[in-house]
């Protein structure tokens, strides 16, 4: 079976700084990957390359057998397959939670209002926000916002979900509710790539861990192997700090 995500020799530069330096990763369908590493190591940039929010300078990305190039139509098609959740939630401020979930379904998927609302309410129920449908983002807690953002991405029926530090902007007591939603999603068989510092989450649901530093993959392997017996000294040093 061909991997659902294939990234080959990706290079991404910002002016003269190389943010992603010759990175190759393959992800199988249903796999949950956790990317860890220090700040500024290029892990978020790598994630953003996967749905073309960043334009790569060289290399190749193949998602579900489609090559991601600069063609706008192709980018658009691939983004439909790839959902993304951001550190700052980025719910649309002027729309209610329900409308946030319905907007892209209506204008991109061209679903009817009724159909879109039905789907939106279903996902709101799954993330435990059925009663917040008519609230505005400003009136939600951070954890509720992030759960709504996850539901918003899921409404588009993506094959892959990307999470860019989804709990970093949350108060500690709200991290759990978001991770629970993500765990359920993982158990449901969703292909997920998660950039996070939550090693507990990784231990529980990740199939593989990738350790990034200075734009390169320093080490990657099955979760247990990396967590218990990392080979590279930088990985060991990083893990010893976050597990403390």
């Amino acid at each position: 079976m061909t991997p659902i995500v294939q990234a080959r020799s990706l290079v991404k530069k910002f002016d003269h700084i190389v943010a992603v330096d010759d990175v190759s990763v393959e992800i199988e369908k249903g796999e949950v990957i956790v990317i860890i590493g220090p700040s500024g190591s290029g892990k978020s940039t790598f994630l953003r390359c996967l749905n073309a929010l960043e334009k790569i300078d060289s290399g190749q990305i193949i998602i579900d057998k489609e090559i991601l190039d600069t063609d706008a139509k192709k980018i658009h098609d691939i983004r439909l397959e790839v959902g993304m959740v951001f550190q700052q939630f980025d719910l649309f401020m002027h729309l209610s939670v329900l409308e946030n979930l319905m907007l892209a379904q209506r204008v991109v998927r061209k679903r009817s209002r009724q159909n879109a609302e039905q789907i939106a309410r279903e996902y709101l129920g799954r993330v435990g926000l059925a009663d917040k449908a008519d609230s505005f983002p400003a009136h939600l807690s951070g954890g509720q916002k992030q759960r709504a953002a996850i539901a918003r991405a899921l409404c588009m029926n993506p094959k892959i979900m990307l999470f860019d530090e989804p709990t970093s902007a949350l108060d500690p007591e709200m991290i759990g509710e978001v991770l629970d939603v993500m765990k359920n999603l993982a158990r449901g068989g969703m292909t997920m790539v998660v950039v996070t510092h939550e090693i507990g989450f990784a231990r529980e649901v990740a199939d593989r861990i990738i350790f990034f530093e200075a734009g390169k993959i320093v080490e990657s392997g099955p979760t247990d192997e990396i967590l218990s017996s990392a080979k590279h000294p930088r990985t060991m040093e990083f893990l010893s700090k976050v597990l403390k």
């Binding site: 983004r79 649309f92 401020m93 892209a104 998927r109 918003r152």
Partner: protein
Amino acid sequence: MKRRFRRNETLRARFVRRVNYLLICIAFLIGILIYAPDVLADGLDDVRSRGVLFVGTDATYPPFEYADETTREIVGFDIDLVRAICDNLGLRVEFTVVPFDAIISGLNSRKYDCIISAMTITPERAEAILFSEPYYDAGQSIAVSTDDKTILSFEDLKGKRIGAQLGTTGEMLARKIENATVKSFDNIGEAFRDMANGNLDAVINDKPVSQQIIIARGKAKLVGPTLSSEQYGIGMRKGEERLKRAIDDALTELRAQGIYSDIDEKWFGAPPIPAIPKSFPGMIWSILRYLAPAVPMTILITLCSFLLAIIFGIVAALARIGRNRVVGGLSKAYSDIVRGVPLIVQIFFIYFGLGSIFHLGEFWAGALAIGICYGAYLAEIFRAGIQAIPHGQSEAALSLGMNHWQVDRHVILPQALRMVVPPVANEFIACLKDSSLVSIIGLRELTRAGREYLSWTYIDFATWLMVGALYLIMTLALARLSRIIESRYRIPGLGTQI
């Protein structure tokens, strides 16, 4: 006896007699040629025998002669005057309407007996026809304050402060006066008010118009003879000396009897409307009644201008933010140029400057000028509004599969537009006030209506007070409306809380 004498005359004597006869004949012929009109056909006798004076006129020059809109009858100052002359002479009058350029040849081909058509007596015309004594002096006159005793004639104007109407012969005359300070006004009524306020020593303007103003409001008087000679005369065929004498005598009598000044008052006196009530509330009511119909035009031009401004503003803001550098540069140039030039200059430029290329009426020229001007300001506001929307909003929308247009349409603009409601409402109120500038190109909106009312009534204080009050009512209503819209469409968590 004579015959015998003749028979006996010498050949030489016979020759002399024949030459003499020939000379007498030639002299007689010359006499006929010289005195022919008087001798052969006297116009006055002709007119008296038929009892009707035929008069040619070009009835397209109010208030001297024109066809009344409803009755289609020919009326005017000249018409009343010639009727009065005919009354005096015991004649009836019949008019023939002729284009002005054919009016002299019509007279000479005897289609009518005389011409009255606001015709200025010029040396060229006096070669072709005979003129009566001038019956109307349409020259420039000097008006001074009623209590002024220093200015008696043109010579006394040196070094004085003189008012005139922009672009008139009066202004040209004023500029020739040594050391005089000339102040030009759009409307001559304003010059008279400025003089009443003590800012001018004299006003030079068309005599009939000045007369009208003085009759209506007092506080000024005409001094000295008229400055330029533009005198109107009644035209007759050359040689009709007796008819001329009769008409001149009649004119003298009309003047003496006061009939002339009655006619003058009727056509050049104060216009009958509006009748101004004496009481203050009555006056205010009369002003408001006059101004009210102009309010919808102020609202309409403000709405049209601002709609154009919003369109220009959004396009320019998107162009400025967009990736295309050329388009962005053009948009920046638009903002910089338009914001650096006074709106009134832009209005003149579009109405008069571009008016020769594209014909825009004063409404659309005004709306376009204001729209372009406010578009440049709105572009900056929209740009700031759009850039205030966090970048994550568009990234989130893009990651959901929206294209750039959908992101702008559904995510960025709805938020940006709501955030800019307060500053845009301020611009709208400013736009309403600036719509008054369009009055200078003649659009009949509130300010223009105020000036019109003033030009007839000369009530300055109360008129401008009411114009101001009407603007204030509209701007206060708009401010209130803007607060309602603001609170209604406020995005929770964004912008200021109310």
